[in-house]
Amino acid sequence: MGSTDMKMTKRLGNARTRRPLSAEERSVYEWQLGVAGFGEEGQRSLKSASVLVTRIGGVGGAAATALAAAGIGRLILAHQGNVRTSDLNRQTLMSADWIGKPRVESAQKRLKDLNPRVAVEVHNVNVGEDNVDDLVASADLVIDAAPLFRERFLLNRATVEQRKPMVDSAMYELEAQVTTFLPGRGPCLTCLYPGDPPGWRRQFPVLGAVSTMVGSLAAMEAIKVLSGLGEPLLGRLLVADLRDMSFRTVRLQRNLHCLVCRELH
């Protein structure tokens, strides 16, 4: 990652806006405060940050859980609909006793049980033309865990327009893809996929252990961008296949003719 990218990630943890930690918070986060390059400054950056997670199924739910445990300041969760039995193989924020009730309410309760210090704002809606700008505006960073490319493209357009980072997380069967977009610093989602991918369906085969891993990877990317820790997957796509546990990164290209982000370069 170049120095310009580092500046952009550091900017999200601007010292003027970072809230101090209480003695209780130092105790709760004791194990991670010792991580080299993270420490109290990193923890304060997380505490001061807001992350939009859409949706909160297998991937988004795992990401939200990891961020809540890590002490993110505010989670904004968007996902329409009620818990279904077919959610339970992977959606770890849901439970069998919540079938037929709103997913976001289950998620809010579980996350507050895990870490009551985290503000959890929920929206029983999916991302659409009418709400995407406001949802993105309410967060410092977006985790895209939506199953439909229509939603993913809307989030991409809004994050590019608002210059917000977006972590893109995806899976299929035992495979995973994760990358992080910083507008103006490499490709955006539409650079990779200029239009609806052929043959993609909302429901696809996947094991829950895969979605949990992908969500954790997405949360890690968010933590890195927000705290300035390590090197996010800027301009790189992590491609994992859990059949043989192969992990590799592919260097991505910007599309100079991209209809969404070409003006930024």
């Binding site: 991937v59 995806a170 290209q253």
Partner: protein, 92 residues
């Protein structure tokens, strides 16, 4: 010359292969390789790989080694290179 093709996700399902070695008789571009593979592997893969005009679909990701190239790229593939066909996926 021989090149190795690796298939991921929906491409792996459509071809029934994780990888294969392909013999190319002449210098071949990424564009032409995708079209050739589409002829070879039947309708399920063709639907993923080609657009309505029979050209490589722009939303198909292709990597040569560890570098993404456009699926319609006319760059010639070198002997021994590994080409990965990466189909889009999402959350859920």
């Amino acid at each position: 010359m021989k090149v190795t093709i690796r298939y991921s996700a929906q491409a792996r399902v459509a071809t029934g292969l994780s990888s294969e070695v392909v013999e190319l008789d002449e210098p071949t571009s990424v564009h032409d390789l995708v079209v050739r593979l589409s002829r070879q592997h039947g309708s399920a893969f063709r639907r993923l790989a080609l657009d309505a005009n029979g050209c490589p679909h722009p939303s198909l990701l292709v990597a040569i080694g560890d570098d993404q190239v456009r699926s319609g790229d006319h760059r010639k593939i070198a002997p021994g290179e590994t080409i990965t066909i990466i189909t889009p996926m999402s959350g859920g």
